[in-house]
Each structure stands twice: as C-alpha cells, then as structure tokens.
Symmetry: C2
Subunit: 216 residues, 2 copies
Amino acid sequence: MKIGILGTGIVGRTIGSKLVTLGHEVNLGSRTSDNEQGRAWAEQTGARAAHGTFADSAAFGQLLFNCTPGHASLAVLAAAGRENLRHKPLIDVANPLDFSKGMPPTLFVGNDDSLGEQIQRAYPELKVVKTLNTVNCEVMVDPNRVAAGDHTMFLCGNDSGAKASVRELLLGGFGWRDVIDLGDISNARATEALLPIWVRLYGALKTADFNVKVVR
Amino acid sequence: MKIGILGTGIVGRTIGSKLVTLGHEVNLGSRTSDNEQGRAWAEQTGARAAHGTFADSAAFGQLLFNCTPGHASLAVLAAAGRENLRHKPLIDVANPLDFSKGMPPTLFVGNDDSLGEQIQRAYPELKVVKTLNTVNCEVMVDPNRVAAGDHTMFLCGNDSGAKASVRELLLGGFGWRDVIDLGDISNARATEALLPIWVRLYGALKTADFNVKVVR
C-alpha cells in the first residue's frame, strides 16, 4: 500500500521504516522538499522510501499517518491540502502536549475536547483513527519489546471500515495482541488523557519501554 | 488503629468493612448523626464499627479516608472541621467527576490542577495521599478479584511518612502487589486523568472488575 507519513521526526521515521519492512511504499512529508531528515531516511531505507512536502506525502498516500507534534498538527494538515486528504484514513498518533508551562507537560485541550476531534472537525471527510499515541514510537511498531507484547493498545474513530483496516495493521503488521476499540473519535479525550501518567511513569521507571495492560 | 471514613456511600462502606476485618476501629461519617446508611452499616459490621457526623468521624480517626463524591469533598472537609484534620494522613480516593454535561462524565479540574491538590492547598497541615481512585471500590480492597492481583496501583503525596504507612496498608492489608509512588501530590493530576479511560472501559468491558497493569 502507498502510505504518506506527515512528520520526519523520530516517530515518523520509526513508523516509516517499519512500514517499508512490511512491504509498503512510504513517503515521509515535511515542510520543505529538501528536509535533511527526510532525505537521509529515504536514502538509508531503500527503494520503497521517499520524501517530499506535506502535500507530496498526503497526495501519495492511500493511508496517512499524523506524526507531527500536536501543536503543529492542524497547520501541517492545512499545508498538506484539503484535496489531498479527502476520504482517506488518517492514523493520528499525535498528542496535544503543552510544554510552555514547564515539565511535565500539560495538555492544550480541555477535558471536553481532544486533538483527534479537532482534526476530525477541521476535516470532516478525513477518516481519523486515533491510536498508538499512548506509547513510545519504538513500542508502537514493536510491542514485543515490552513484556513479550502482553499489553494493550486503544483505538477510536468514527469510520468502522477505517478502524478495521487500522486494527489489521496493528495486529497483523505491528504485532499488537490486545486492541480495544473505544468507539467514536470523541474517545480520543480518554487516550490523550493517558499522557499525564505516561510522562510521569517515564520519569519514575527511567525507560520508555513500558505500557499498560488492561487486565480483566 | 482508629480510622475515620468520610462518606457512607458504597465506597466508604466497602473500605470500612475491609478495615474492620483487618482489626481496625472505624467510624463512618456523614452529614447527620442519624444517617440511615451509616447506622445500618455499623449495626451489621459489629463492635468495631460506628458512625457519626463528619466531625465525629474526623475527630475519631488517626487516619482518614475521603470517600465522598469529588464535587462535595471540600464542603465535607469544612464540615469535618479543620481542628479534627490537622496533621493527620488522609487517603483521598475521590475523583473530580462532573456529570452535569451528561455521560461519560468530564473532570471539573483542568489539566493543571487536581482534586488532591485542591484538598492539600485548602488544608496544608493534612497529609494527603492520593490513591485507590483509579479502580472500583470492590477492587480497591480486594485486588485479587481481578487477574489474581497482577495489576498496578499508584500513589502520590507530599509526606513520605504518610505515604509509607499507606503503602503498607495497600500491600499488607488490602493485598496489592504493585504500588508505584509517582511523587508529590501534584501527580494526582495524572491519576485523576485516568478516569476518562476508566469510564469508557467500564462501558466497553461491561464490568467494573478491571484495572491497568504497568508492564515494563
């Protein structure tokens, strides 16, 4: 499948590399077509890896990933271009982290909103699926690195077809074993609200190789 | 030990009964000294169980529990009386749930505050320890009812002595096996922020017998 990843940071590059190993073609998008991280990644990753602008990446992908910092995500989608986003599934792994008040970060959305919903409202034709935002990017694409994969991923979104495709990628592609569908995109409020505990556990455990398992 | 529990609802009664079985003396407090739930609980629970007003309960206890609805907690502590609270450890199991906008509830605190901090600020001499608020009351006092107790409880607070006592009660008394100390009371922001996912998992799993395990 052709996949566009918005963001050339560590999250975008890690997911992009995994998708290439799974046989997909990936275009990593950034603000400019000569982004150094995008160019280096594409060179290192091989024939199925390319880079371009946000608009190039969005136009290329049949499936899109939002791997940009939460505070930049809406501006990035605007740069990607509404016509390049229309009717496509977008996996939103970003978090509305606000570092402006110091550490640990707070969230720039209140309890009655989420970044996932903001993106869905701004682009009603986009099929936003919120997932993977609750773990470090290394764990996103390789859940087995923590406790042999015995832990939980959440997803939510309004489009059941898009959610089914994303679930298949998580289970069959990335190796997740327990994926809980929370319902529509408004449930992104709950998974984004896991970031406050994530950043504190990161401090307490001194590693990003952790996750939660929903035991029942 | 003499323990005062503020609140005669299901949470207060469940914790109270467990503490009595552990050999403690418990006074369950409510707004009036003739509260029907308090009276019935005390009669059923035996010689070490009593009930009274919030002030009676707080004066009685060497250790206190806040088992009131979050929106009522500060008013309850005012009714309990500052002189009855001074220098005592208070285990705050309440959550700042706001049901006024419908279901699922939101939180009435923002990302940069918590009910635990509000209580600590209002009563600086109280030794507030936030814990147990992330699970159903049946699980609070009997973690073994879920996955043989293989899951995680968090605690936080400013007083290390109070936290050590509470940890001992959780491990030795209630049967918890994995208790993570997140640091000072400001970390209550993170554990109270687990309520949005808790209420959604309660809906998805159709049971309150669940919790999260931090796997690492």
